[in-house]
Symmetry: C2
Subunit: 591 residues, 2 copies
């Protein structure tokens, strides 16, 4: 069973990702270390004692649709109620509407824990947060007044309606339409698919944010507008009125996150009865600028999904280590107890467990560093701009690498359990199933890699990422200067990986700026992994230098002497692999 | 939907794995190329048209236990009947008992196709074949006469009963016991778990092979005997008699292969009623030599599981390529048709698909080469010994690498499908679920790697594997001499990977022979992958040289310029990684 690793989370936040320095410099207002510790401790308790125990029930029962209503698994509605009563939904919400306005760093640390407890639970509020952000930044005062307080507290939940059957990664293909009624509202029509928490019984009302086209809108992404469509209308006094014409027509039968209802939503088919069909919606932001409204919250949503990868990896690692300490098979050097040795003493099992542990640690370090940059970006000015670029740079890594790690580590976790891993009741399999969606949704990992290479590497004329690599090199210098024992060849290996990182970066920057876009696209995915491994190794070193503990030094060295060497092959794949890829790809196209 | 890749299978058998040369040299008796083609074609038809269409039903319904009886999914019993009526179970069975006695190469090629159609279907007969082999080689004439013909035809099925709750990888811990009755039979008692096809309605009788201890047996693996325990006794005239005291008490709720009943079997609890409890069994082979009897069929069973990895990878790749040709999103260079481009035109998708294709091809080449060695080993004499060593060497690679590839490729397959990949009805998810057991059962992949390093590398004083690497080098020389266009840097890169392979091999041989067992155990898993990638690249080259086609050359080059470079990092992990692993592992052990 999951136990929230509160100390590890706190350490990574403070000493790897930069929270301690930010607190000390007063960059985060009046936030104190004590408050941080208290919040993490309490969130850890809730995730461990309240969320995690309901994961298995959620997975087994799933969400159930009947007569357009979705019933959540037994105990889940109460769980959600206790969770919002604890103020957790409001953690990083705006203070003006009842939120606690705490930094993103704390928000993602808590999010990691909810998702470790149960990813199907953690995903719901993430959507609400996205809706809060979009409304806060772009909606009219009237809409804010009506909706924000209840969305911040969690009394109502929010959803994001982008995808249609023909429009997934390519939103230019959207067809949902909105017609002006004449009174400032719109009638929205269309079908949206894969709508997470589109319908459920957690809350009395659900606030849908929906992308749709106005009648005279230009084609493509410049003709998309964003609408707020409540499930129930809200009366002047705040009470709920009539049912709007939006309904869930089906929920998906999925590989994982069974308790998260993935809905097909039908807008404007007249199911609500009464007058004219059409789901009544209110415009958020300007006409035809809906995608820009969505993009303002995209970074945070992507980081949130990245946390799911970290979360699953953490739970899978804990579970595998616990099992390996209990399960006994065979003899092992280094075990001198009675009978068969716990399998944790077998070097091959140790390799799996340490790989899981190291990958989880670097994914977490990258994600928290991304959150730190987001928090620092609020400063504004030159410094704010710098940190926003850093957040932009790290977001695709935090999303894609962490979720790939989630899948890899969950798979290794099943393996460590042997035959028991394949039995559903053991629980390792549910992590392997749940993990698999995170590399797909909120922009597939391929799209993250393309975003990284084509939009993030060119930031600041290409200098931003080079400055980042320079900062990482300084940590390696500090490691050499530290004279700490136990690092072995860590400094040399990390330095070599940073050289690979730099070479590949310069190569791709040249391609992007100089007509080699196909080469850049072909190298994007291996580059993203190279970036993460090279940076991740340095983050482990940073933590090890800060704490000077044998355990952290040993894990860093294991990573540097066993895992980071992959960067060389990745660099070659980036810089030398595109031509053969193009040559071989011809055979893939159906005649 | 799966279409058996009959031409690709035939090509790999003949021109990569050595079937053509063996036919031409008369090493396989009267086997002709025409017969090979006819069998592959017909097996492909059956797998495509009969097995594959029932996969989804099998996955959704699963096997159902009620009152100790297991009902297979709708249509499956008829499918099995048509399959044995087609003579497929008897394909490589001994001719003396009605089998066709065809080479292992054909057996595994057919097995690949059944498993591609549905892995839960393919696994059942694999167990029967194992039972046939054990009985043929070790049982008395009387037992052969009673059981073999019906097991060869498939009228009855067989099972293997090794695992107990405390004894998985470590069979020394077995507790099931057998007491001599005095009339040549034994009463068997105990609980066996994870028994594949332990109970079902495919056949009227089921023949269990069971490992158990005699009362006076020594402890450990030298005190284990093998018994044949039929579900129903067989009368003198071959008809079925009374029920034996062996029952299925439960079936597992598993991540995948839902239609394969994974049973807990209870021996000797007296459920059959009547007289004294105890499941009546007959000894196979000598007392206390049961493990040796099991080991004679272990190689083939491991290769059979390896074929499941190849099979899943093939199906996943086909499915992903088909989807990528249909699904349209965005624009792509190289697509000049109307509207959005099929995603197969996006370089990042191409990278996934080509990686899937190349990994599948090399896993298949290795597995078929292993089968070829098994066939050639029947020659006896020095040549036979050489080929048996080759089969021994390649078996752990065929098992472990192929099944790892099955998981990797199935996961990439889900990814290529985007959101649809997470929806069960799409079918990509079931491959991801099914694939996950193959690295675990029939000896976990970690155990395969340890077997490779500690038992197979030392064969022939260490010379066998070195000779194998030498043969691979000759193929690279032939590639250089071929003057074929389109290979790019293939020869250089394959040569470098063979150098890594050689270096790592020599390093591990030294460790094993010179007191460095812990180092060898720590490096086993990365070494196995290194071996497979280096050898696999050469097999692709061998095929490309033989066919001289642009497609095969391009895929080989893609592999050589994008994937084989991983061997360098793997070599370093093998030779330099153990010390840091040991240092970091201390933290894994629970206090």
């Amino acid at each position: 069973m999951y136990r929230a690793p509160v100390d590890e989370i706190a350490f990574t936040l403070k000493h790897v990702a930069g929270l301690q320095a930010a607190i000390d410099a007063g960059s985060l207002g009046e936030l104190s270390e004590d408050l941080v510790d208290a919040i993490l401790h309490e969130a850890g308790r809730f995730a461990t004692e309240e969320v995690a125990p309901l994961h298995g029930i959620g997975d087994a029962h799933g969400a159930v649709l009947k007569d357009a209503a979705v019933t959540m698994p037994p105990g889940w509605k109460d769980l959600y109620r206790r969770w919002i009563d604890g103020g957790w939904n409001a953690l990083s919400g705006p203070e003006e509407f009842g939120g606690q306005g705490l930094p993103t760093m704390l928000g993602v640390a808590a999010l990691e824990m909810w998702n470790s407890g149960s990813m199907a639970f953690g995903i719901g509020p993430t959507l609400t947060m996205g809706a809060v952000e979009a409304i806060e930044k772009h909606a009219s005062e009237a809409l804010k007044k009506t909706y924000l307080e209840k969305l911040v507290s969690g009394e109502w939940m929010g959803t994001m309606n982008l995808t249609e059957p023909q429009a997934g990664s390519d939103l230019a293909a959207l067809r949902a339409r909105a017609e002006p009624v004449g009174d400032g509202t719109y009638r929205v029509f269309g079908q949206k698919i894969f709508i997470t928490y589109g319908e459920h019984d957690f809350t009395d009302n659900i606030v849908h944010l929906v992308l749709a086209r106005l009648p005279d809108a230009p084609a493509g992404t410049r003709g998309i507008s964003l609408f707020l469509v409540p499930k129930f209308f809200v009366e002047e006094d705040g009470s709920l009125g009539a049912r709007n014409d939006v309904f869930c027509s089906s929920i998906e039968h999925k590989l994982g996150i069974h308790a998260s209802p993935t809905c097909t939503m039908i807008y404007g088919d007249g199911f609500a009865g009464g007058g004219q069909p059409g789901a009544i919606g209110w415009l958020i932001g300007e006409e035809n600028k809906g995608l820009a409204c969505m993009f303002t919250m995209m970074n945070n949503a992507r980081l949130a999904v990245g946390m799911q990868g970290v979360a699953i990896a953490e739970t899978a690692t804990q579970k595998a280590i616990a099992f390996a300490n209990e399960r006994r098979q065979g003899k092992a050097t280094g075990y001198d107890g009675d009978g068969m040795a716990p399998i944790v003493h077998h070097p091959d099992v140790q390799r799996n467990l340490l790989t899981m542990k190291a990958l989880t640690a670097i994914a977490r370090a990258i994600a928290y560093s991304c959150a730190h940059a987001t928090d620092m970006a609020h400063a504004g000015g030159e410094a704010g701009k710098h940190w926003q670029e850093r957040a932009n740079l790290l977001t695709p890594i935090a999303k894609a690498f962490s979720t790939d790690v989630g899948v890899e580590v969950a798979s290794m976790g099943v393996q460590v359990h042997g035959g028991m891993g394949f039995i559903e009741e053991t629980g390792a399999a549910s992590l392997y199933r749940d993990a698999r969606i995170a590399p797909i949704y909120e922009g597939t990992n391929g799209i993250q890699a393309i975003d990284l290479v084509t939009r993030k590497l060119p930031q600041a004329g290409g200098d931003h990422v080079l400055g980042y690599i320079g900062e990482l090199s300084e940590v390696v210098d500090a490691l050499r200067d530290s004279n700490l024992d136990g690092f072995g060849r860590t400094a040399d290996n990390l330095e070599a990986s940073l050289k690979d990182f730099l070479d590949a970066t310069l190569f791709l920057q040249d391609q992007v700026s100089d007509g080699g876009l196909q080469q850049a696209l072909a190298g994007a995915t291996p580059y993203l992994r190279l970036f993460a491994l090279a940076a991740g190794g340095v983050y482990l070193a940073k933590g090890a230098i800060a704490e000077k503990s044998a355990g952290r030094i040993a894990l860093c060295r294991f990573f540097a002497e066993n895992l980071v060497g992959e960067t060389r092959a990745l660099k070659e794949r980036v810089s030398l692999g595109a031509e053969s890829l193009a040559a071989a790809a011809a055979a893939l196209v159906a005649a």
